[in-house]
């Protein structure tokens, strides 16, 4: 059984009477420990897909099954709880709270998990040690470089020990070298058994993941999974003739 399954998921927006299918009948299985990239041009529906995978949003149609439980119609409260315990987010613009120091930023998810302050501090320090930022605990985010900020964000994503890490253009604001370091960190996390989902428009970055899912116009246009050696699992959307 897959860790996360999408079954015929559609997300439909209505803009001035016009119907926009940001996601159009998408079905997808993600297993534990997979390192996946979701790729596609701007406006193709990557972010929408990520929001649904990350339980930030519910689909208009279809089912989202997380570890055997359908959460397509879960309440906002239940989704918040799933995000807190099961999913870690890493964003393009880091999304750290500027008024909190590094340690406090990393402690944030644990506050909402109801973890006591001593244990919060211990775990946050551990997570920051993992991303090699133990020496910057009391710094504010704006005192750190982009790469360091993104590592703080990763520590924050990890601190509640989530099964899934979702990263939306995590290297988009970093130089190539720093970006590579961050990607190495993600690879490591996947190797440890977490499902890491990387959303990007950059094929070079997508190339680091064994499995790549290409989105166009809200549909899965093309999938490559190099782990299935020889077979080179390829799927094409029926109405999409030429996949890149």
């Amino acid at each position: 059984m897959a860790l996360l399954e999408l079954r015929n998921v559609s997300k439909i927006y209505h803009l001035g009477g016009e119907e926009i299918r940001a996601l159009d009948d998408v079905s997808l299985d993600l297993d534990q420990g997979e390192f996946v990239s979701i790729i596609g041009p701007s406006g193709s529906g990557k972010s929408t897909l990520m929001h649904i995978l990350g339980c930030l949003d519910s689909p208009t149609l279809g089912n989202v099954v997380l570890a055997g439980t359908d959460i397509a119609n879960a309440s906002a409260r239940e989704l918040a709880r799933v995000r807190n315990r099961t999913i870690g987010f890493v964003f393009q613009f880091f999304n750290l709270l500027p008024k909190l120091n590094v340690l406090q930023n990393v402690e944030l998810p644990m506050i909402y998990a109801g973890i006591g302050s001593r244990e919060r501090r211990e775990r946050a320090e551990k997570a920051l040690e993992m991303v090699e930022l133990s020496h910057r605990l009391k710094n504010r985010p704006n005192q750190l470089s982009g790469g360091q900020q993104q590592r703080v964000a990763i520590a924050r994503a990890l601190v509640n020990n989530p099964k899934i890490i979702l990263a939306d253009e995590p290297t988009g604001n970093l130089d190539t070298h720093t970006g590579e370091l961050i990607l190495a960190l993600f690879r490591r996390l996947a190797a440890e058994g977490r499902t890491v989902i990387l959303v990007t428009h950059n094929p070079e970055i997508a190339a680091v993941t064994p499995r790549r899912i290409e989105i166009r116009n809200g549909k899965i246009a093309h999938q490559v999974d190099s782990k299935l050696a020889g077979l080179d699992r390829v799927s094409k959307a029926p109405n999409e003739g030429q996949a890149s």
Binding site: H51, G54, L56, D57, A76, R77, A80, R81, R83, N84, R85, F89, F91, N95, L96, L97, K99, L108, P109, I111, Y112, A113, G114, I115, G116, S117, E119, R123, K126, A127, E129, M130, V131, E132, R156, L158, V159, N160, N161, H177, L181, A184, L185, R188, L189, E192, G193, R194
Partner: protein
Amino acid sequence: MSLELPRISSSDLSLQDLPVGKTSLGNAVVVGLKEIWAHKFRSALTMLGIVLGVSSLVAMSAMVQGMENGQREALLAIGGLQKVRMEAQRVPVEQRHLRDLARGMTLADVEALKAGVPDIEIIAPEMRLDLDPTLQANGKFHRTFMTGGVVPEKVKIMEHEVEHGRMFNDIDASEARPVCVIGTGIRDELFGRPEDAGSEVIPLGRIMTINGQPFTIIGMFKRYEGEQDRKQRLEREVERQKLISEGKAPPKGPVRGQGRSGNFAFWIKNNTVYMPLNTMWHRFQSGLSNAPAEPRLSNIELKVRDFSQIEQTLTKIRNIMMVNHRGIEDFAFRTFEDWSADIDRFVKNARMSGGLIAGISLFVGGIGIMNIMLASISERIREIGIRKAVGAGGLDIFVQILVESVVIAVVGGVLGLAFSRFVVLGITWVAPTGNDPVITSGAMALSFGFAVVVGLVAGIFPAVKAARMDVIQSLRYD
């Protein structure tokens, strides 16, 4: 440079042993305080309304409390609620044809009441001059309407205390001696104030004329004053002694705030001149061509033993008086229950109007808080989005915003309580009253409670708004 692989694995962050709990309120309070500290100036401006509201509420109730205390003090000073006063009055219109039969109140009434109403503890008749008499002594003049011929019991009813000399007695009365006992107010006017003289002025044995007739002063009452006047006077006295011991001349003449006693009851008591009733009768009335055959009393004051029985006692007194006066109602009752009720009504009204003003101030303060919280959440849309993304529920955000709002109100409330002392000082400095304001802990607790409620109510709308924000849109916002 390559990233050294982490020495520590992320699997060390196993969540199996993680306890599940609730967001702690203490944490929300800390976040709230930090937020306020981060916007010190803005928060201070916002708190101002609450500070003013709370301090004016406390100050107002302190003023009212002070006035109430002063009034009750005065009520006690003139004999308390047990005192009943019967005043001679003109024959009512519908009884005008019986006018010739009306003798007014006489000593016979006093005797009849003494005999017929055991509930009367003390009874004291008084005879006054029709016109305020002129007092003259020491080359100075003074007029006072509180000049009366009385019996020695009058001292008890009026809660007088002879401090120097003696009260006149039966012999003084039966011989109609020209003796009198005066209050310190009369002394101040005719013989000078001790503050100016530098020592107590006791004019015992001195001659004072009343409407030209010489009287010997045989006694002087103590000085009556409210609690606050007494305190101020003693302070001034200490100050004066210090100056003297330092070899400097003490200041003469009136001092600021002196003689300003707002309490009329004490002023009246100090401006009393008493002579024996019989003296009054013989020296001022019996010789007049239209004098009645026996002394006509201006009023009879009496004190009942048991205030709870006052209605029955009053009925008895009235019956006896009516019989004695052949049904002619040439007397009227006055009790001080009316005054007491007046005090209650005054206190209630003052509280209401003061409370209204303070309430408006708190209301405006509440609007200020709501305004600032709305501004605050629209500045922090992204923060709210991030908090929600990492697992904050709507309730968590709601509590956070509400706590911030309440914290502003609580801090404002505490400052307001501290500030109220200065408001009270300021008011008494600008407009001194005879009654020191009294800040009660009840008023402080109530005002503070109001402030907290205002903070709560003002925070609800912004908190709901923040809690309902869409997480995706908040995250995108910049």
